[in-house]
Protein backbone atom coordinates (compact mmCIF):
# COMPACT_ATOMS: atom_id res chain seq x y z
CA UNK A 1 0.00 0.00 0.00
CA UNK A 2 2.82 2.37 0.94
CA UNK A 3 4.26 2.39 -2.56
CA UNK A 4 1.23 4.27 -3.85
CA UNK A 5 1.56 7.00 -1.26
CA UNK A 6 3.06 9.89 -3.16
CA UNK A 7 4.77 11.58 -0.26
CA UNK A 8 6.44 10.96 3.06
CA UNK A 9 3.44 10.41 5.26
CA UNK A 10 5.37 10.02 8.50
CA UNK A 11 7.11 13.32 7.91
CA UNK A 12 3.82 15.03 7.17
CA UNK A 13 2.29 13.61 10.33
CA UNK A 14 5.21 14.84 12.39
CA UNK A 15 4.46 18.41 11.21
CA UNK A 16 1.11 18.39 13.06
CA UNK A 17 1.35 18.77 16.86
CA UNK A 18 -2.21 17.56 17.54
CA UNK A 19 -1.54 14.31 15.71
CA UNK A 20 1.11 13.44 18.32
CA UNK A 21 -1.56 13.53 21.00
CA UNK A 22 -2.90 10.63 22.93
CA UNK A 23 -6.33 10.66 24.47
CA UNK A 24 -8.23 8.47 26.92
CA UNK A 25 -5.32 6.82 28.70
CA UNK A 26 -2.79 6.49 25.98
CA UNK A 27 -4.97 5.80 22.95
CA UNK A 28 -3.44 7.66 20.00
CA UNK A 29 -5.69 10.22 18.33
CA UNK A 30 -7.11 9.18 14.97
CA UNK A 31 -8.44 12.42 13.57
CA UNK A 32 -11.12 11.77 10.93
CA UNK A 33 -12.96 15.08 11.04
CA UNK A 34 -10.98 17.27 8.66
CA UNK A 35 -14.07 18.10 6.64
CA UNK A 36 -15.28 20.06 9.67
CA UNK A 37 -11.86 21.55 10.30
CA UNK A 38 -8.34 20.41 9.53
CA UNK A 39 -5.42 20.14 11.95
CA UNK A 40 -2.68 22.77 11.68
CA UNK A 41 1.01 22.18 10.94
CA UNK A 42 3.72 23.79 13.05
CA UNK A 43 4.64 26.20 10.22
CA UNK A 44 1.19 27.81 10.38
CA UNK A 45 1.33 28.16 14.16
CA UNK A 46 4.84 29.61 13.93
CA UNK A 47 3.86 32.15 11.28
CA UNK A 48 1.05 33.50 13.45
CA UNK A 49 3.17 33.40 16.58
CA UNK A 50 5.97 35.30 14.84
CA UNK A 51 3.58 38.02 13.82
CA UNK A 52 2.36 38.50 17.39
CA UNK A 53 5.83 38.18 18.93
CA UNK A 54 7.83 40.24 16.46
CA UNK A 55 5.76 42.31 14.09
CA UNK A 56 2.41 42.96 15.75
CA UNK A 57 1.03 46.15 14.21
CA UNK A 58 -2.02 47.22 12.29
CA UNK A 59 -1.58 46.94 8.56
CA UNK A 60 -1.78 49.48 5.71
CA UNK A 61 -1.16 53.19 6.24
CA UNK A 62 1.48 52.62 8.95
CA UNK A 63 5.02 53.67 8.10
CA UNK A 64 6.88 52.31 11.08
CA UNK A 65 8.87 49.10 10.75
CA UNK A 66 6.40 46.81 12.47
CA UNK A 67 3.49 48.08 10.37
CA UNK A 68 5.52 47.53 7.23
CA UNK A 69 6.48 44.03 8.25
CA UNK A 70 2.91 43.16 9.14
CA UNK A 71 1.55 44.62 5.89
CA UNK A 72 4.15 42.77 3.85
CA UNK A 73 3.32 39.47 5.54
CA UNK A 74 -0.44 39.94 5.15
CA UNK A 75 -0.27 41.04 1.52
CA UNK A 76 2.31 38.35 0.83
CA UNK A 77 -0.23 35.80 2.04
CA UNK A 78 -2.78 37.19 -0.38
CA UNK A 79 -0.27 36.83 -3.24
CA UNK A 80 0.47 33.28 -2.25
CA UNK A 81 -3.22 32.37 -2.14
CA UNK A 82 -3.89 34.08 -5.48
CA UNK A 83 -1.18 31.98 -7.05
CA UNK A 84 -2.45 28.83 -5.33
CA UNK A 85 -5.87 29.12 -6.99
CA UNK A 86 -4.63 30.51 -10.28
CA UNK A 87 -6.13 34.00 -9.93
CA UNK A 88 -4.98 36.57 -12.47
CA UNK A 89 -4.09 39.02 -9.74
CA UNK A 90 -4.16 39.24 -5.93
CA UNK A 91 -6.82 41.96 -6.33
CA UNK A 92 -9.25 39.14 -7.03
CA UNK A 93 -8.61 37.63 -3.61
CA UNK A 94 -10.89 39.17 -0.99
CA UNK A 95 -10.24 38.21 2.62
CA UNK A 96 -13.41 37.36 4.53
CA UNK A 97 -14.07 35.34 7.67
CA UNK A 98 -14.99 32.06 5.99
CA UNK A 99 -16.86 30.45 3.11
CA UNK A 100 -20.16 31.46 4.65
CA UNK A 101 -19.24 35.12 4.70
CA UNK A 102 -17.92 34.94 1.14
CA UNK A 103 -21.25 33.63 -0.14
CA UNK A 104 -23.22 36.15 1.89
CA UNK A 105 -21.03 38.89 0.47
CA UNK A 106 -21.95 37.89 -3.07
CA UNK A 107 -25.64 37.60 -2.21
CA UNK A 108 -25.74 40.97 -0.50
CA UNK A 109 -23.73 42.97 -3.02
CA UNK A 110 -23.90 41.34 -6.44
CA UNK A 111 -27.26 39.70 -5.69
CA UNK A 112 -28.94 42.80 -4.34
CA UNK A 113 -27.94 44.92 -7.29
CA UNK A 114 -28.25 42.39 -10.11
CA UNK A 115 -31.26 40.26 -9.22
CA UNK A 116 -34.88 41.29 -9.56
CA UNK A 117 -38.30 39.80 -8.82
CA UNK A 118 -38.81 36.54 -10.67
CA UNK A 119 -35.12 35.99 -11.45
CA UNK A 120 -33.98 32.40 -11.24
CA UNK A 121 -31.08 31.15 -9.12
CA UNK A 122 -30.09 27.48 -9.52
CA UNK A 123 -28.72 25.66 -6.48
CA UNK A 124 -28.41 21.94 -5.72
CA UNK A 125 -29.90 19.53 -3.21
CA UNK A 126 -26.44 18.76 -1.80
CA UNK A 127 -25.57 22.26 -0.62
CA UNK A 128 -24.22 23.11 2.79
CA UNK A 129 -26.58 25.50 4.59
CA UNK A 130 -24.12 28.29 3.88
CA UNK A 131 -24.92 28.07 0.17
CA UNK A 132 -28.68 27.79 0.75
CA UNK A 133 -29.72 30.21 3.47
CA UNK A 134 -28.12 33.37 1.98
CA UNK A 135 -30.08 32.73 -1.23
CA UNK A 136 -33.27 31.95 0.69
CA UNK A 137 -32.87 35.26 2.53
CA UNK A 138 -32.30 37.16 -0.70
CA UNK A 139 -35.16 35.32 -2.39
CA UNK A 140 -37.51 36.40 0.40
CA UNK A 141 -36.32 39.98 0.09
CA UNK A 142 -36.31 40.16 -3.71
CA UNK A 143 -38.91 37.61 -4.81
CA UNK A 144 -36.35 35.40 -6.52
CA UNK A 145 -37.10 31.93 -7.79
CA UNK A 146 -34.86 29.16 -6.47
CA UNK A 147 -34.58 25.82 -8.25
CA UNK A 148 -32.49 22.85 -7.22
CA UNK A 149 -30.51 20.32 -9.21
CA UNK A 150 -31.62 16.97 -7.74
CA UNK A 151 -29.23 14.41 -6.30
CA UNK A 152 -29.48 10.87 -7.68
CA UNK A 153 -29.62 7.80 -5.44
CA UNK A 154 -25.89 7.27 -5.96
CA UNK A 155 -25.13 10.78 -4.82
CA UNK A 156 -24.49 12.53 -8.13
CA UNK A 157 -26.10 15.68 -9.48
CA UNK A 158 -28.79 15.00 -12.07
CA UNK A 159 -27.25 16.95 -14.91
CA UNK A 160 -30.15 16.29 -17.27
CA UNK A 161 -32.37 18.31 -14.94
CA UNK A 162 -29.63 20.96 -14.76
CA UNK A 163 -29.80 21.29 -18.56
CA UNK A 164 -33.58 21.77 -18.39
CA UNK A 165 -33.25 24.38 -15.66
CA UNK A 166 -30.68 26.25 -17.72
CA UNK A 167 -33.28 26.65 -20.47
CA UNK A 168 -35.31 28.80 -18.07
CA UNK A 169 -32.71 31.56 -18.21
CA UNK A 170 -31.12 31.61 -14.73
CA UNK A 171 -29.06 34.58 -13.57
CA UNK A 172 -26.83 32.54 -11.26
CA UNK A 173 -25.83 28.95 -10.67
CA UNK A 174 -24.33 28.40 -7.19
CA UNK A 175 -23.12 24.92 -6.30
CA UNK A 176 -20.63 23.06 -4.20
CA UNK A 177 -17.56 21.71 -5.97
CA UNK A 178 -17.35 18.87 -3.47
CA UNK A 179 -20.07 17.69 -1.10
CA UNK A 180 -19.13 17.70 2.59
CA UNK A 181 -21.37 14.66 3.17
CA UNK A 182 -21.43 12.53 0.03
CA UNK A 183 -17.90 13.46 -0.97
CA UNK A 184 -19.21 13.90 -4.52
CA UNK A 185 -16.86 15.89 -6.72
CA UNK A 186 -19.10 17.73 -9.15
CA UNK A 187 -18.02 18.38 -12.74
CA UNK A 188 -17.50 22.06 -12.00
CA UNK A 189 -15.82 23.01 -15.26
CA UNK A 190 -18.63 21.58 -17.40
CA UNK A 191 -21.31 23.01 -15.13
CA UNK A 192 -19.77 26.47 -15.28
CA UNK A 193 -19.43 26.34 -19.07
CA UNK A 194 -23.09 25.36 -19.33
CA UNK A 195 -24.10 28.18 -16.97
CA UNK A 196 -22.17 30.69 -19.06
CA UNK A 197 -23.73 29.39 -22.23
CA UNK A 198 -27.14 30.03 -20.66
CA UNK A 199 -26.09 33.57 -19.75
CA UNK A 200 -25.72 32.91 -16.01
CA UNK A 201 -22.83 33.51 -13.66
CA UNK A 202 -21.39 30.64 -11.62
CA UNK A 203 -20.47 30.68 -7.95
CA UNK A 204 -18.51 27.70 -6.69
CA UNK A 205 -18.50 26.71 -3.02
CA UNK A 206 -14.92 25.52 -2.77
CA UNK A 207 -14.92 24.89 0.99
CA UNK A 208 -14.16 21.21 0.40
CA UNK A 209 -12.53 21.22 -3.03
CA UNK A 210 -9.81 23.83 -2.51
CA UNK A 211 -8.36 21.92 0.49
CA UNK A 212 -8.39 18.55 -1.26
CA UNK A 213 -7.93 18.97 -5.03
CA UNK A 214 -5.95 21.16 -7.36
CA UNK A 215 -8.37 24.03 -8.10
CA UNK A 216 -7.58 26.62 -10.76
CA UNK A 217 -10.12 29.42 -11.14
CA UNK A 218 -8.96 30.27 -14.65
CA UNK A 219 -9.21 26.69 -15.82
CA UNK A 220 -12.67 26.40 -14.23
CA UNK A 221 -13.64 29.87 -15.46
CA UNK A 222 -15.48 30.36 -12.14
CA UNK A 223 -16.97 33.79 -11.57
CA UNK A 224 -16.84 33.41 -7.79
CA UNK A 225 -15.11 30.86 -5.58
CA UNK A 226 -15.51 30.72 -1.79
CA UNK A 227 -13.30 28.81 0.65
CA UNK A 228 -12.14 28.74 4.28
CA UNK A 229 -8.58 28.58 5.64
CA UNK A 230 -9.46 26.35 8.58
CA UNK A 231 -10.38 23.44 6.34
CA UNK A 232 -7.01 23.61 4.54
CA UNK A 233 -4.59 23.42 7.49
CA UNK A 234 -4.95 27.14 8.17
CA UNK A 235 -6.48 29.06 11.08
CA UNK A 236 -10.14 29.80 11.80
CA UNK A 237 -11.51 33.29 11.24
CA UNK A 238 -10.24 33.76 7.70
CA UNK A 239 -11.39 32.71 4.27
CA UNK A 240 -11.44 33.99 0.72
CA UNK A 241 -13.90 35.19 -1.81
CA UNK A 242 -12.32 34.96 -5.23
CA UNK A 243 -14.15 36.95 -7.90
CA UNK A 244 -13.33 37.98 -11.44
CA UNK A 245 -11.90 41.48 -11.27
CA UNK A 246 -14.47 43.07 -13.59
CA UNK A 247 -17.33 41.63 -11.53
CA UNK A 248 -15.85 42.73 -8.24
CA UNK A 249 -15.27 46.20 -9.65
CA UNK A 250 -18.91 46.48 -10.67
CA UNK A 251 -20.22 45.37 -7.27
CA UNK A 252 -21.06 47.82 -4.49
CA UNK A 253 -19.04 47.52 -1.27
CA UNK A 254 -20.16 45.09 1.43
CA UNK A 255 -19.58 46.67 4.85
CA UNK A 256 -18.66 50.29 5.32
CA UNK A 257 -15.84 51.59 7.49
CA UNK A 258 -12.10 52.00 7.61
CA UNK A 259 -9.85 50.62 4.89
CA UNK A 260 -12.63 50.19 2.34
CA UNK A 261 -12.65 53.86 1.42
CA UNK A 262 -10.56 56.08 -0.78
CA UNK A 263 -12.05 59.33 0.47
CA UNK A 264 -14.69 60.29 3.02
CA UNK A 265 -16.57 63.54 3.60
CA UNK A 266 -19.29 64.07 6.17
CA UNK A 267 -21.98 62.99 3.73
CA UNK A 268 -20.22 60.90 1.11
CA UNK A 269 -17.51 58.34 0.52
CA UNK A 270 -15.65 56.95 -2.43
CA UNK A 271 -14.93 53.24 -2.24
CA UNK A 272 -11.35 51.99 -2.24
CA UNK A 273 -9.95 49.87 -5.05
CA UNK A 274 -9.79 46.07 -4.97
CA UNK A 275 -9.34 44.11 -2.82
CA UNK A 276 -9.70 46.66 0.01
CA UNK A 277 -13.13 47.80 -1.14
CA UNK A 278 -14.59 44.65 0.43
CA UNK A 279 -12.42 44.60 3.55
CA UNK A 280 -13.79 47.13 6.02
CA UNK A 281 -12.10 47.48 9.38
CA UNK A 282 -9.01 45.84 10.85
CA UNK A 283 -8.89 42.35 9.40
CA UNK A 284 -7.77 39.06 10.97
CA UNK A 285 -4.10 39.87 10.39
CA UNK A 286 -2.47 36.95 12.18
CA UNK A 287 -4.95 34.59 10.58
CA UNK A 288 -4.29 36.01 7.12
CA UNK A 289 -0.59 35.42 7.65
CA UNK A 290 -1.35 31.92 8.93
CA UNK A 291 -3.48 31.28 5.85
CA UNK A 292 -0.50 32.20 3.66
CA UNK A 293 1.65 29.71 5.57
CA UNK A 294 -1.03 27.05 5.18
CA UNK A 295 -1.13 27.52 1.42
CA UNK A 296 2.66 27.43 1.28
CA UNK A 297 2.57 24.15 3.19
CA UNK A 298 0.07 22.62 0.76
CA UNK A 299 2.07 23.91 -2.21
CA UNK A 300 5.17 22.16 -0.89
CA UNK A 301 3.33 18.87 -0.54
CA UNK A 302 1.56 19.42 -3.87
CA UNK A 303 -2.19 19.31 -4.35
CA UNK A 304 -1.89 16.55 -6.94
CA UNK A 305 -0.20 14.40 -4.31
CA UNK A 306 -2.85 15.28 -1.73
CA UNK A 307 -5.58 14.24 -4.13
CA UNK A 308 -3.86 10.97 -5.03
CA UNK A 309 -3.26 10.08 -1.41
CA UNK A 310 -6.89 10.72 -0.52
CA UNK A 311 -8.07 8.64 -3.49
CA UNK A 312 -6.01 5.72 -2.18
CA UNK A 313 -7.58 6.15 1.24
CA UNK A 314 -11.19 6.46 0.11
CA UNK A 315 -10.91 3.50 -2.25
CA UNK A 316 -9.63 1.36 0.57
CA UNK A 317 -12.22 2.69 3.02
CA UNK A 318 -15.09 1.94 0.64
CA UNK A 319 -13.82 -1.60 0.13
CA UNK A 320 -13.35 -2.12 3.84
CA UNK A 321 -16.81 -0.76 4.71
CA UNK A 322 -18.51 -2.85 2.03
CA UNK A 323 -17.51 -5.87 4.13
CA UNK A 324 -19.44 -4.69 7.18
CA UNK A 325 -23.05 -5.81 6.97
CA UNK A 326 -25.74 -3.43 8.15
CA UNK A 327 -23.51 -0.42 7.46
CA UNK A 328 -24.49 1.75 4.52
CA UNK A 329 -22.22 4.40 3.02
CA UNK A 330 -23.98 7.20 1.16
CA UNK A 331 -22.45 8.88 -1.87
CA UNK A 332 -20.98 7.87 -5.20
CA UNK A 333 -18.29 5.37 -6.19
CA UNK A 334 -14.66 6.31 -5.52
CA UNK A 335 -14.00 7.79 -8.95
CA UNK A 336 -16.49 10.61 -8.26
CA UNK A 337 -15.67 10.97 -4.61
CA UNK A 338 -13.31 12.79 -2.29
CA UNK A 339 -12.22 11.29 1.01
CA UNK A 340 -15.50 11.66 2.89
CA UNK A 341 -17.26 8.60 4.28
CA UNK A 342 -20.75 9.23 5.64
CA UNK A 343 -22.54 6.12 6.79
CA UNK A 344 -25.39 4.75 8.82
CA UNK A 345 -25.51 1.61 10.92
CA UNK A 346 -28.71 -0.35 11.17
CA UNK A 347 -28.31 -1.08 14.87
CA UNK A 348 -27.03 2.18 16.28
CA UNK A 349 -27.73 5.88 15.98
CA UNK A 350 -24.93 8.01 14.45
CA UNK A 351 -24.47 9.90 17.69
CA UNK A 352 -23.85 6.70 19.61
CA UNK A 353 -21.47 5.46 16.93
CA UNK A 354 -19.46 8.68 17.12
CA UNK A 355 -19.40 8.65 20.91
CA UNK A 356 -18.19 5.06 21.10
CA UNK A 357 -15.56 5.63 18.42
CA UNK A 358 -14.25 8.54 20.45
CA UNK A 359 -13.48 6.10 23.24
CA UNK A 360 -11.18 4.34 20.77
CA UNK A 361 -9.46 7.65 20.05
CA UNK A 362 -11.27 8.05 16.74
CA UNK A 363 -12.70 11.52 16.08
CA UNK A 364 -15.63 11.44 13.66
CA UNK A 365 -18.72 13.64 13.44
CA UNK A 366 -22.40 12.74 13.75
CA UNK A 367 -25.42 14.74 12.70
CA UNK A 368 -26.68 16.39 9.55
CA UNK A 369 -23.36 18.16 8.86
CA UNK A 370 -25.14 21.42 7.99
CA UNK A 371 -26.87 19.72 5.08
CA UNK A 372 -30.37 19.04 6.37
CA UNK A 373 -32.08 19.03 2.96
CA UNK A 374 -29.57 16.47 1.68
CA UNK A 375 -30.28 14.18 4.65
CA UNK A 376 -33.98 14.64 4.04
CA UNK A 377 -33.38 13.64 0.42
CA UNK A 378 -31.92 10.35 1.64
CA UNK A 379 -34.56 10.08 4.40
CA UNK A 380 -31.92 10.04 7.12
CA UNK A 381 -32.10 12.17 10.26
CA UNK A 382 -28.34 11.94 10.63
CA UNK A 383 -25.18 10.15 9.52
CA UNK A 384 -21.80 9.38 11.03
CA UNK A 385 -19.06 10.96 8.94
CA UNK A 386 -15.39 10.07 8.80
CA UNK A 387 -13.31 12.38 6.64
CA UNK A 388 -9.68 12.09 5.67
CA UNK A 389 -6.86 14.44 4.79
CA UNK A 390 -3.25 14.36 3.69
CA UNK A 391 -2.10 13.20 7.14
CA UNK A 392 -4.37 10.16 7.47
CA UNK A 393 -3.14 6.61 6.94
CA UNK A 394 -4.48 3.31 5.67
CA UNK A 395 -3.93 1.90 9.16
CA UNK A 396 -6.33 4.53 10.49
CA UNK A 397 -8.99 3.29 8.08
CA UNK A 398 -8.49 -0.18 9.55
CA UNK A 399 -8.83 1.16 13.10
CA UNK A 400 -12.04 2.93 12.04
CA UNK A 401 -13.51 -0.20 10.48
CA UNK A 402 -12.59 -2.25 13.55
CA UNK A 403 -14.17 0.38 15.79
CA UNK A 404 -17.36 0.34 13.74
CA UNK A 405 -17.48 -3.45 13.95
CA UNK A 406 -17.07 -3.23 17.70
CA UNK A 407 -19.95 -0.77 18.03
CA UNK A 408 -22.06 -3.04 15.91
CA UNK A 409 -21.40 -5.99 18.20
CA UNK A 410 -22.34 -3.89 21.20
CA UNK A 411 -25.71 -2.99 19.78
CA UNK A 412 -26.41 -6.35 18.16
Amino acid sequence: MNSSIPFDLQRIRSDFPTLQRQIHNGVPLIYLDSTATAQKPQSVLTAMDEYYRRSNANIHRGVHTLAEEATAAYEGARQSIAQFIGARTAREVIFVRNTTEAINLVAMTWGRTQLQTGDLVILTEMEHHSNLVPWQMLAAERGLRLEFIPVTDDGLLDLAVYQQLLEQGPKLVAFTHMSNVLGTINPAKEMIAAAHQAGALALVDGAQSVPHLPVDVRDLDADFLAFSAHKMVGPTGIGVLYGKEALLNAMPPFMGGGDMIKKVTLRTFAANTLPHKFEAGTPAIAEGIGFGAAVDYLKTVGMQAVEEHEQTIIRYALERFAEISGVTVIGPAAEHKGAVLAFTMQEAHPHDVAQLLDREGIAVRAGHHCAMPLHERFKLPATTRASFYLYNTIEEVDRLAEGVEKVKRMFA
Partner: protein, 136 residues
Amino acid sequence: MDDMYREIIIERYKDPHYRGTLDPHDYTFEDENPLCGDQIRVDVRADEAGMITEAAFSGHGCAISQASADLLIESILGKNVEDVKKMTKQDILDLLGIELGPVRLKCALLSLKVVKAGLYGLGEASDALVDDDEEF
Protein backbone atom coordinates in the same frame (compact mmCIF):
# COMPACT_ATOMS: atom_id res chain seq x y z
CA MET B 1 -16.15 -0.26 25.24
CA ASP B 2 -17.62 2.39 27.45
CA ASP B 3 -19.31 2.97 30.76
CA MET B 4 -21.48 5.66 29.17
CA TYR B 5 -23.24 2.76 27.49
CA ARG B 6 -24.14 0.76 30.58
CA GLU B 7 -26.10 -2.36 29.86
CA ILE B 8 -29.34 -0.76 30.99
CA ILE B 9 -29.00 2.02 28.43
CA ILE B 10 -28.47 -0.33 25.51
CA GLU B 11 -31.24 -2.60 26.77
CA ARG B 12 -33.77 0.17 27.14
CA TYR B 13 -32.77 1.57 23.75
CA LYS B 14 -33.26 -1.76 22.00
CA ASP B 15 -36.27 -2.85 24.00
CA PRO B 16 -38.03 0.08 25.68
CA HIS B 17 -40.79 -0.61 28.20
CA TYR B 18 -42.86 2.51 27.69
CA ARG B 19 -42.81 3.19 23.97
CA GLY B 20 -46.14 4.21 22.48
CA THR B 21 -48.77 6.94 22.39
CA LEU B 22 -51.82 7.53 24.56
CA ASP B 23 -55.05 8.80 23.12
CA PRO B 24 -56.79 10.47 24.86
CA HIS B 25 -54.26 11.99 27.22
CA ASP B 26 -54.23 14.80 29.74
CA TYR B 27 -50.84 16.14 28.78
CA THR B 28 -48.78 15.83 25.64
CA PHE B 29 -45.73 17.53 24.25
CA GLU B 30 -43.21 16.96 21.49
CA ASP B 31 -39.81 18.47 20.83
CA GLU B 32 -36.58 17.75 19.04
CA ASN B 33 -32.91 18.31 19.33
CA PRO B 34 -32.16 19.98 16.00
CA LEU B 35 -28.42 19.36 16.20
CA CYS B 36 -28.63 15.59 16.22
CA GLY B 37 -32.18 14.90 15.14
CA ASP B 38 -33.36 13.31 18.40
CA GLN B 39 -37.11 13.64 18.64
CA ILE B 40 -39.41 12.76 21.53
CA ARG B 41 -43.11 12.98 22.21
CA VAL B 42 -44.55 12.16 25.61
CA ASP B 43 -48.23 11.52 26.47
CA VAL B 44 -49.39 11.51 30.08
CA ARG B 45 -52.63 10.59 31.85
CA ALA B 46 -53.31 11.72 35.44
CA ASP B 47 -56.18 11.21 37.85
CA GLU B 48 -58.15 13.95 39.63
CA ALA B 49 -55.60 14.15 42.39
CA GLY B 50 -52.90 14.85 39.84
CA MET B 51 -51.26 11.45 40.13
CA ILE B 52 -49.73 10.15 36.91
CA THR B 53 -51.45 6.89 36.03
CA GLU B 54 -50.14 6.24 32.56
CA ALA B 55 -47.39 7.66 30.35
CA ALA B 56 -45.66 6.73 27.12
CA PHE B 57 -43.05 8.17 24.77
CA SER B 58 -42.52 7.97 21.04
CA GLY B 59 -39.94 9.34 18.63
CA HIS B 60 -36.45 8.43 17.53
CA GLY B 61 -32.87 9.26 18.31
CA CYS B 62 -29.70 8.05 19.95
CA ALA B 63 -29.49 5.48 22.71
CA ILE B 64 -28.96 8.13 25.38
CA SER B 65 -32.06 10.12 24.41
CA GLN B 66 -34.33 7.11 24.01
CA ALA B 67 -33.14 5.22 27.10
CA SER B 68 -33.42 8.32 29.24
CA ALA B 69 -37.01 8.83 28.01
CA ASP B 70 -37.88 5.24 28.92
CA LEU B 71 -36.30 5.49 32.36
CA LEU B 72 -37.92 8.86 32.98
CA ILE B 73 -41.40 7.55 32.14
CA GLU B 74 -40.85 4.65 34.50
CA SER B 75 -39.86 7.02 37.28
CA ILE B 76 -42.82 9.40 36.93
CA LEU B 77 -45.56 6.75 37.02
CA GLY B 78 -47.44 7.04 40.30
CA LYS B 79 -45.90 10.44 41.03
CA ASN B 80 -47.81 13.67 41.41
CA VAL B 81 -47.66 16.11 38.50
CA GLU B 82 -46.44 18.85 40.83
CA ASP B 83 -43.50 16.73 41.95
CA VAL B 84 -42.55 15.84 38.39
CA LYS B 85 -42.51 19.55 37.52
CA LYS B 86 -39.76 19.89 40.12
CA MET B 87 -37.51 17.20 38.61
CA THR B 88 -34.01 18.34 37.67
CA LYS B 89 -31.10 17.54 35.46
CA GLN B 90 -29.53 15.68 38.35
CA ASP B 91 -32.54 13.35 38.58
CA ILE B 92 -31.96 12.29 34.99
CA LEU B 93 -28.26 11.75 35.54
CA ASP B 94 -29.10 9.64 38.58
CA LEU B 95 -31.53 7.57 36.52
CA LEU B 96 -28.93 6.99 33.82
CA GLY B 97 -26.11 6.48 36.28
CA ILE B 98 -23.51 8.06 34.01
CA GLU B 99 -21.69 11.32 33.49
CA LEU B 100 -22.22 13.23 30.28
CA GLY B 101 -20.43 16.00 28.41
CA PRO B 102 -22.31 19.08 27.23
CA VAL B 103 -23.30 17.66 23.85
CA ARG B 104 -24.75 14.38 25.08
CA LEU B 105 -26.39 16.09 28.04
CA LYS B 106 -28.81 17.66 25.57
CA CYS B 107 -29.76 14.18 24.34
CA ALA B 108 -30.29 12.94 27.89
CA LEU B 109 -32.37 15.93 28.97
CA LEU B 110 -34.69 16.12 25.97
CA SER B 111 -37.30 13.82 27.53
CA LEU B 112 -37.41 15.75 30.82
CA LYS B 113 -37.74 19.00 28.90
CA VAL B 114 -40.64 17.52 26.94
CA VAL B 115 -42.38 16.13 30.03
CA LYS B 116 -42.07 19.40 31.96
CA ALA B 117 -43.17 21.56 29.02
CA GLY B 118 -46.22 19.30 28.69
CA LEU B 119 -47.12 19.40 32.38
CA TYR B 120 -46.67 23.16 32.53
CA GLY B 121 -48.78 23.51 29.38
CA LEU B 122 -46.15 25.58 27.61
CA GLY B 123 -46.24 26.46 23.93
CA GLU B 124 -42.52 25.99 23.57
CA ALA B 125 -39.94 24.04 25.56
CA SER B 126 -37.19 26.16 27.07
CA ASP B 127 -33.76 24.91 28.11
CA ALA B 128 -34.41 26.68 31.41
CA LEU B 129 -36.75 23.77 32.25
CA VAL B 130 -33.78 21.45 32.65
CA ASP B 131 -31.13 23.86 33.87
CA ASP B 132 -30.67 23.26 37.58
CA ASP B 133 -29.02 26.64 37.98
CA GLU B 134 -32.03 28.56 36.75
CA GLU B 135 -35.26 29.28 38.54
CA PHE B 136 -38.24 28.17 36.60
